[in-house]
């Protein structure tokens, strides 16, 4: 039972969130931060699909997941566009050099 689908899925959800956020925390590069975010988004997707399945509303779950995919793809695209601009203006994607706004 330990390896039942819900259990695995919930571990995957928490694992993806953990790995993704960890990636955001320790990355020096903006693109990698976006990669981290996307990984965490996958966690949310699995969570919705699983929640839909377990509450016998798999289609609602799918519908929510679809919306999340669209929304977070848009966010990723905007983030990448910003990253491209950052690269053009700053000449680097290194996050520690993006600290002129502080204090």
């Amino acid at each position: 039972m330990i390896f039942s689908l819900p259990n695995i899925a919930i571990v995957v959800v928490l694992g993806l969130f953990g790995v993704g956020l960890y990636g955001v925390l320790i990355s020096r590069n903006l693109i990698k931060v976006v990669v981290g975010l996307q990984i965490a988004v996958k966690g949310a997707l699995v969570a919705f699909v699983l929640a839909g399945r377990l509450s016998s509303q798999v289609d609602v779950g799918q519908s929510l997941a679809l919306t999340v995919i669209v929304a977070d793809t848009i966010v990723a695209v905007v983030a990448l566009a910003l990253a491209v601009q950052v690269r053009r203006k700053f000449g680097t994607l290194d996050i520690p050099s993006l600290t002129s706004l502080r204090r």
Binding site: G15, R53, V60
Partner: protein, 170 residues
């Protein structure tokens, strides 16, 4: 067993994507994660959205990443973290454990296993749920895409616009 393998694969790919220092390779690991997630979704019973995830998550997003990385240049980044890794570790693990401890007890309920027994005879409803029941969400996706496109146009296109303007003036 196959579920377990998929789960392990997803996490492994995710970790590799985070650990990888070459941007392009990292994006590819993300794509693989996405593909495996889509497979897991299919296993859970969400066939339609699994396809979308495969095409958008693994396909479109990867293309976008590759596109962006091409513009930027596939630089390999320094692996030195901007903040102490142990701190990040502790925060993430603590948060994960706390959440797991709070969530997992409610996951063992009987009704869930019962629910899992009945296989997806509900297929075909997805369309009506998406387009009728949750039509506000779907319409808002249009708004989201519109705003996102405007943002990208403003951010990327603006540069060229400025250049062309300068050219005209010059």
């Amino acid at each position: 067993m196959i579920n377990f393998l998929i789960g392990a694969g997803i996490l492994a790919c995710a970790i590799l994507a985070v650990r990888e220092n070459r941007l392009l390779v990292s994006a590819l690991w993300l794509a693989l994660t996405s593909a495996l997630v889509s497979f897991l979704m299919y296993r859970v019973g969400a066939a339609e959205v699994a396809v979308v995830e495969l095409s958008v998550g693994a396909g479109l997003v990867t293309v976008l990443f590759v596109f962006a990385i091409n513009i930027i240049g596939n630089e390999s980044v320094a692996s030195q973290a901007p903040l102490p890794r142990p701190l990040a570790w502790v925060a993430i693990v603590l948060g994960g454990l706390l959440l797991a401890w709070m969530i997992l007890p409610s996951m063992q309920l009987e009704r869930f296993t019962a629910v899992l027994e009945q296989q997806g005879e509900l297929a075909g409803l997805f369309r009506s749920v998406l387009w009728t029941d949750r039509s506000v969400d779907s319409l808002l996706q249009v708004v989201l895409i519109f705003s996102g496109v405007l943002a990208v146009l403003g951010l990327i296109g603006g540069e060229e616009g400025l250049e062309s303007k300068e050219e005209k003036q010059g």
